[in-house]
Assembly symmetry: C2
Homo-oligomer: 436 residues x 2
């Protein structure tokens, strides 16, 4: 009996040529994380539900893949942060702080299936965790990781938007609107989508007085260069501790972002960014591709006060970012924006057209010894079928080897893109020289 | 409330230094697979139970992590072969054959937890799938992948054992023992563990006549060089089709393994290897580290007639191998046999001992531009604590930068292993030159 082969909806499964692009993108991100000395981490996809859901609630909990095996209540991780918190709490005594780790792995959320939304997707995270305290300089290093990373992915026109939650909280305190803070943040987060007027209306519905609404709008509409914005924030002369602390932190972050080599054209202070979560307590980041704002933030994160409060009474402040790679790949691929280094795994395909395959196989061995990814076509087909195979796999070079080539010790290397043929001696060294 | 941070039993979770070793091992395997032009594949960890269990039964089924989400019956993959079969059947029209793919990913089996056994573990697979037919030469290429791979992992003294199931089946046919074949294979598989006598006793219990048992023992004890073994098999003069076909295939595989560059010291014909599974129909492989036979086969596989018979009526023969990486890593690490290229992620740690971090940070930027993995210690600690951090993370080089170094434009690079200090100008280029 034949079962129709199907893949679960919301689970990405790529054809080989696309998978190669995906792997390149993943590897570029990983390389940048490593360049900054972040340590690799790989935690299980399954955790005890008791652990994974120590904090969660509401929407998240509903989306979780959770089941029992024997009498164990198990859940699939829905992000890489909760497993990190568990890991750091569990291994506290064996880790060196600041603990800088990256993790690239699949996470699971049983969301409503729709185009471009995935139930299984890769997150690519870095976090820097301090033991008790963590210098604000780390908040300034993170944007330089984002900067290198987005450049590495082939984009130049992007903006890292930075804010500090303490500034917002301090402003609300100053206006005696602390109880409304979450609601206000939720509303002003929508300003790009719904406009100033609609934001004002929604704020009015909260019962906030007109002059305070004006203050909020005036605040989030602060314009100018980064330094002008910092000056205008200073000029507001708000005296709550949170506001003063937040402004001081933001100024430090801005100062050092520049030292870390991020040009002013690639970052800005954006006072509307709050990152909905309660989680963040200081610096927050969002990153936009300027010509593709519709993608939303492609890399976000921030500073939190206490990573692992559900698992330990140690205070573990941290700062980190996350990239939702699967969705980002999907969107960039759809827009044709992925810059690939190569589209095939093999650099050369050797196509033997002889009875005896000894010489072609030995050539393949020698090319591999020179670190050239080499495939040899081992099956009995017509030349045309073999060339079509190379073409479909987008293998850049093909060497056809018949008795003539073997006897003359000379081969032709066909460039499959241009159709051009290069002559070479039948040695791996000479072939390598010709295609380099 | 604090929840005690725990990880599920049977799920490997490594400390950073070990994780670095694990990643290196995984990367080496991947690089070798790529060197042979295998294409990357990444399939979901979750599949419809109907798909994943189309064939499974018995032990496997009991071990599976299976659950319902909404009204969907879902299972976690327990190997990478069934998802491959689904993938090839599903994407048949979009793939080029022979389809050569590698996949490195986690699989799940709810086995009884015990030391060195894992419920979540990495498999590293390659397979070559033909459309209708697949040349026996592919069976000869696979051992050359194994050979390169085990060498790459740092071992020279290993043996790839090769057999052909058709030879065994043909022998049993000749002895009219086809019905007992599975049982006989199961028993002779144990010969290394229990010895010849015990094997004979067990075969007797099956009701096999004395002279046939002697034939079986004579057969599996065929000794000599590879060529002598092939000659002795020839001399048995067994005339069943299976035996003749199997011997012809094995001879071809042996001939071409050598052409593919595997020395005779690293492979042998081993007539006792059957690979318990019903799955394999021709060539079978097992690989042993000669000084660590107790690890069992570290890389196994073989030829199968029909990859995806449960999902398509297309005939898709294939040949492949699998490495159980998690267990292998665990065992090799336990024995101290992992050859690491480096033990830290960062190549250099910059330790600023100044108020103003501008010069140290700019140096870190420049080193990273030269592709040197560089970390800068950003937190306010005593020098001793900073050096201890470098030491624990096994970072090979440390540059301490105080005002003296900045003013003189000269730094000392401390080799953390030897204690030696190298002098260098305060430029990334000079530092790079000194540590290369």
């Amino acid at each position: 009996m034949i079962t129709e082969p199907r893949t679960l909806p919301g689970f990405m499964e790529l054809l080989p040529n696309e998978q190669i692009l995906f792997e390149q993108m993943k590897n570029k991100i990983e390389k940048v994380y490593q360049r900054f000395g972040f340590l690799p981490l790989d935690t299980p996809i399954l955790e005890l539900s008791e652990i994974l859901l120590a904090k969660a609630g509401g929407e998240t909990e509903k989306q979780i893949y959770r089941f029992e095996k024997g009498d164990t209540d198990i859940s699939m991780r829905f992000d890489l942060t909760v497993p990190l918190a568990k890991y750091v709490a569990k291994n506290y005594g064996n880790l060196s702080f600041p603990f800088r780790r990256y993790q690239i792995g699949k996470v699971y959320r049983g969301e409503r299936a729709q185009k471009g939304r995935f139930r299984e997707f890769y997150q690519c995270d870095i976090d820097i965790i301090g033991d008790g305290e963590l210098s604000i300089l780390n908040d300034a290093e993170i944007p330089s990781v984002i900067y290198q990373l987005i450049k590495e992915l082939g984009f130049n026109d992007f903006t890292i938007c930075i804010n500090n939650r303490k500034i917002l909280n301090g402003l609300f305190e100053d206006m005696s609107q602390t109880d409304n803070a979450t609601e206000i943040l939720r509303i002003i987060d929508k300003i790009d989508k719904i406009g100033v007027e609609a934001v004002c209306e929604e704020l009015e519905k909260l019962g906030i007085e007109k002059h305070k609404i004006n203050q909020i709008i005036e605040f989030i509409k602060i314009e100018g260069t980064t330094d002008e914005k910092l000056q205008k924030l200073q000029d507001l002369n708000i005296q709550t501790d949170n506001f003063k602390k937040g402004l001081e932190e933001l100024s430090q972050v801005v100062k050092y972002i520049r030292v870390f080599g991020v040009p002013d054209s690639n970052f800005k202070v954006d006072l509307t960014i709050a990152r909905g979560l309660d989680y963040y307590t200081g610096t927050v980041y969002e990153t936009f591709l300027n010509n593709y704002r519709e993608l939303g933030s492609v890399c976000s994160g921030g500073r939190y006060e206490n990573l692992a409060e559900y698992y330990t009474d140690k205070k573990l402040p941290g700062v980190g970012i996350s990239i939702g790679l699967t969705r980002l790949f999907y969107k960039l691929n759809e827009l044709g924006l992925i810059k690939a280094e190569k589209y095939s795994m093999a650099d050369i395909l050797i196509v033997p057209m002889t009875e005896n395959l000894e010489v072609p196989i030995r050539l393949a061995n020698s090319l591999r010894e020179l670190n050239i990814n080499t495939e040899i076509y081992l099956n009995d087909k017509k030349l045309k079928a073999k060339m079509k195979y190379a073409d479909k796999l987008k293998i850049p070079y093909v060497i056809v080897m018949g008795d003539d080539e073997i006897n003359s010790n000379e081969v032709k290397i066909k460039n499959m893109e241009t159709g051009e043929e290069l002559e070479a001696n039948l040695t791996a060294e000479d072939i390598n020289k010709k295609i380099s």
